[in-house]
Symmetry: C2
Subunit: 131 residues, 2 copies
Amino acid sequence: MTIKEISEKFNISADTLRYYEKEGLIQDVPRVSGRRDYGQKEIDLISFVICMRSAGLPIEVLKEYLSLVRQGDKTIKKRFDMLVNQREILKTKIDEMNAAFDKLNYKINSYNSMMLKAEKKLQKANTTNSF
Amino acid sequence: MTIKEISEKFNISADTLRYYEKEGLIQDVPRVSGRRDYGQKEIDLISFVICMRSAGLPIEVLKEYLSLVRQGDKTIKKRFDMLVNQREILKTKIDEMNAAFDKLNYKINSYNSMMLKAEKKLQKANTTNSF
DNA sequence: GCTTGACTTAGAGTTTGCTCCAAGTTGTAA
DNA sequence: TTACAACTTGGAGCAAACTCTAAGTCAAGC
């Protein structure tokens, strides 16, 4: 697959794909007369990287993890620890986002009843604070 | 409360608090002989800003929202729309993070059984792909 | 009165992750 | 065979959100 096809498949810019390669995230991409020609192996890797990046895992962390993978079985324990660590960080972020989501929801509902009751001059909403 | 107390209360740097103020997120902070002296109003606002920032809402968006709040009731519909919009964006991000979390979990479990069965030379794990 | 430490400001610097640019190459279609 | 679009590379540029620096101010304790 060409860079354009990959870029469309994953909804990511070709520049970003080249950048990931430059950074060493996606290595040894085959070329056909100079052009990148992604195979299944690369597609699986890109899919993983994009998923993790979308969750905010830093490029540096992914780079180190993939470097460990390339170093073979002796790095399994270290990889495991990395993943567990990243899972914990991710869990914290998800909790924070859910908290913000709930707060947003609460505010939206307040605004909603505020607007519904507006013409009746019943602006009793705005209960906890003013923003 | 002093900037240091706020900084410790919210586990955020004093520099960041000053930065938010410079950016217009937290306005009209009272001073006592030049020093910031945060009151309940400011604390509520900071708490809101930090919650939203931790969920990734951009400073620009928060700034505009808070500016609308200051402009009074005529901006309620616009604020409402902003919040609904941000909620949608946040929902998408939460979904992405949950997907990554599941993937991480799956990998961690794979590594786990890999390591458990290692000495038995039963490295049949690593089922779907190699990283 | 003097030192100290925590503040103040304006503004410069840093980090992360792209995103764009310029100049050159290549396969295809007219 | 020449025009064209889509690639290639190295490197510069950019946006967001801090983070740090320098030079100055102030209240408290000695």
